[in-house]
């Protein structure tokens, strides 16, 4: 399928704002949704709506089948050993909190233990760990990034100690767009007996991902950033680790049997899925994953590569623009471009671009420690999806230039 056929499946790309064609460059915040995803949601809501696992009637059986086959499809999509290693959550944030809570309540941390967190993490992969650290008396250490935004991997071994129980790092930062060297980090962490959690929220929409090749112990992502329904998310964990976890929330479905004397819990993954699940949303992950695969085609990725080269060249040619996330090897850069412009505030730029029809993001982007690292109060971010075109990239640079001219 060529790019125009792909685009026709994302109706929002045809929308107008203020009478101008919408150019959607806020994909790192949330992606647009293709018709197949919306149709699946409709189908689940209008024809197969029923609660899962509980009833014997046909519709319930069908809904359960949809839900569980999605779990199997997700497992295959990310290379998990088996569907039971896939826990459905409401998104990456809940996945991080579930993991933090289960590690804490499972007695994984002792006072004085350490958690190593990468310096470019999203707040969702910082705050849950700070909360646990506060309750358990743990120490948080930071794995720094260099001026290019690349992880200082050479410092990793020295940052790990005998007390470092967990390392938390994103596959790709939502600000920097650099593909982090996860397999190498995994090797170093594991040699030290440290578990590795990878936040895949930004990686999964762009990169064919195999959790066993990455070598991580846990992996999380959000459905809404990869074309599926909002309120869907995944936490992957290796079976032997998940089996040692206590439940996350108590309630229906997560139990084996309940009595006043003793309640026992369901096996993984249902132990972690208390209450009625997102029965309409979860099945949309299947068409969404199919879309991801479609977008991995040689033709589409060649287009994305051209856009990346064009924008990297454009930013490099501009002494007044600083690009954050500029890896030595451009092949490690995803089309997520966060910049500051000398003499022009990110908020002003975003407001003017908006009136030109371009949706971008400005501010701290849920990564305040990273803003501090680079000594800025915020940035302007244009994040592309594989369905964005070179014409849109060119229009973006022209409008950015106009906005800068207006502000100077």
């Amino acid at each position: 399928m060529d790019i125009h056929q792909i685009r026709s499946q994302f109706p929002q790309l045809g929308e107008k704002v203020y009478g101008r064609q919408l150019v959607y460059l806020d994909n790192a915040a949330t992606s647009l949704r293709p018709v197949q995803v919306v149709e699946k949601w409709d189908e689940m809501s209008l024809r197969h709506n029923s609660n899962l696992h509980r009833a014997v009637h046909k519709t319930a059986v069908d809904a359960t089948e949809e839900y569980e086959s999605t779990r199997a499809a997700v497992a295959a999509f990310i290379g998990a050993a088996e569907p039971a290693e896939i826990i459905f959550t409401s998104g990456t944030t809940q996945s991080c909190n579930l993991l933090a809570s289960c590690l804490e309540n499972g007695g994984f941390f002792r006072e004085g233990d350490e958690i190593l967190i990468c310096g470019s993490e999203h707040h969702s992969n910082i705050v849950p760990w700070q909360m646990v650290a506060g309750r358990k008396g743990l120490k948080i250490k930071v794995l720094p990034v260099d001026d290019r935004g690349e992880i200082r991997i050479s410092e990793l071994p020295a940052l790990l100690s005998g007390r470092t129980r967990l390392c938390a790092v994103a596959q790709v930062s939502n600000v920097l767009g650099i593909i982090n060297p996860i397999p190498e980090i995994a090797r170093i962490c594991h040699a030290n007996g440290t578990l590795l959690f990878v936040d895949g929220a930004q990686g999964i929409p762009h990169l064919a991902t195999d959790v066993r090749q990455l070598g991580c112990d846990f992996y999380a992502f959000s459905g809404h950033k990869m074309y599926a329904a909002p309120g869907t998310g995944i936490l992957y964990g290796r079976r032997e680790l998940l089996e040692a976890f206590p439940p996350y929330m108590g309630g229906g479905e997560m139990i084996e049997s309940v009595s006043w004397e003793k309640t026992t819990y369901a096996p993984i993954p249902r132990r972690f899925e208390a209450g009625t699940q997102n029965i309409s949303g979860v099945p949309t992950l299947r068409p969404a994953m199919e879309m991801c695969k479609l977008l991995e085609s040689r033709e589409i990725s060649a287009g994305s590569d051209k856009i990346r080269t064009f924008l990297l060249d454009f930013f490099a040619s501009r002494p007044d623009i600083t690009l954050y996330g500029n890896p030595a090897d451009p092949a490690r850069k995803l089309p997520i471009f966060s910049i500051t412009v000398e003499g022009a505030h990110h908020e002003d730029l975003a407001l003017i671009l908006d009136k030109m029809g371009i949706a971008t993001r400005s501010g701290q982007m849920c990564a305040e420690p990273l803003m501090d690292r680079f000594g800025v109060t915020g940035m302007l971010r244009a994040s592309f999806a594989p369905y964005n075109t070179m014409e849109e990239a060119v229009y973006f640079t022209e409008c950015l230039q106009k906005a800068i001219d207006m502000l100077k």
Binding site: A344, H345, E347, D348
Partner: protein, 137 residues
């Protein structure tokens, strides 16, 4: 000094000259650039208005029941909006400001064009000015 109602009407009139929002921005940017210089030593945390994506400082002085405002922001469109607010409310009595309904903000379409994003914290700026006035009535 013209009355509060007259000044508000003048601002609404000026804004109605522009059809395109980009032109209104251009105008706000000009206003922002010409805003009176704000002393650096006044850029303190207690003068920061919360709820804005850009940093906005507002300094209020009271002289015989009259409020004097000075403000600054690191974002220029926000500065332009501040300059409008200052033009309308600076040098008026606390009672007059507290009794005002700030309706010119709707009339020039600032709220619907800027506020949905809450980016520039327009509501926070207005609330701060209103509170300062109420405190000094």
């Amino acid at each position: 000094m013209s009355s509060l109602a007259e000044t508000k009407a003048a601002v609404v009139e000026e804004f109605s000259m522009f059809d395109e929002w980009l032109d209104k921005y251009e105008y706000l940017i000009e206003l922002g650039k010409s805003l009176e210089v704000f002393p650096v030593e006044l850029k303190t945390d207690d003068r920061l208005i919360k709820g804005c994506q850009s940093r906005v400082w507002l300094d209020t002085r009271v002289q015989d029941g009259i409020l004097r405002f000075r403000a600054d922001s690191d974002a220029i469109i926000t500065k332009g909006i501040i300059s409008l607010l200052i033009r309308v409310y600076d040098g008026r009595s606390a009672a007059e400001i507290a009794a005002d309904n700030f309706d010119f903000v709707e009339k020039i379409g600032l709220r619907e064009n800027l506020s949905p994003t809450r980016a520039n914290g327009l509501n926070s700026m207005i609330e701060t000015i209103r509170k300062e006035a109420e405190r000094n009535v």
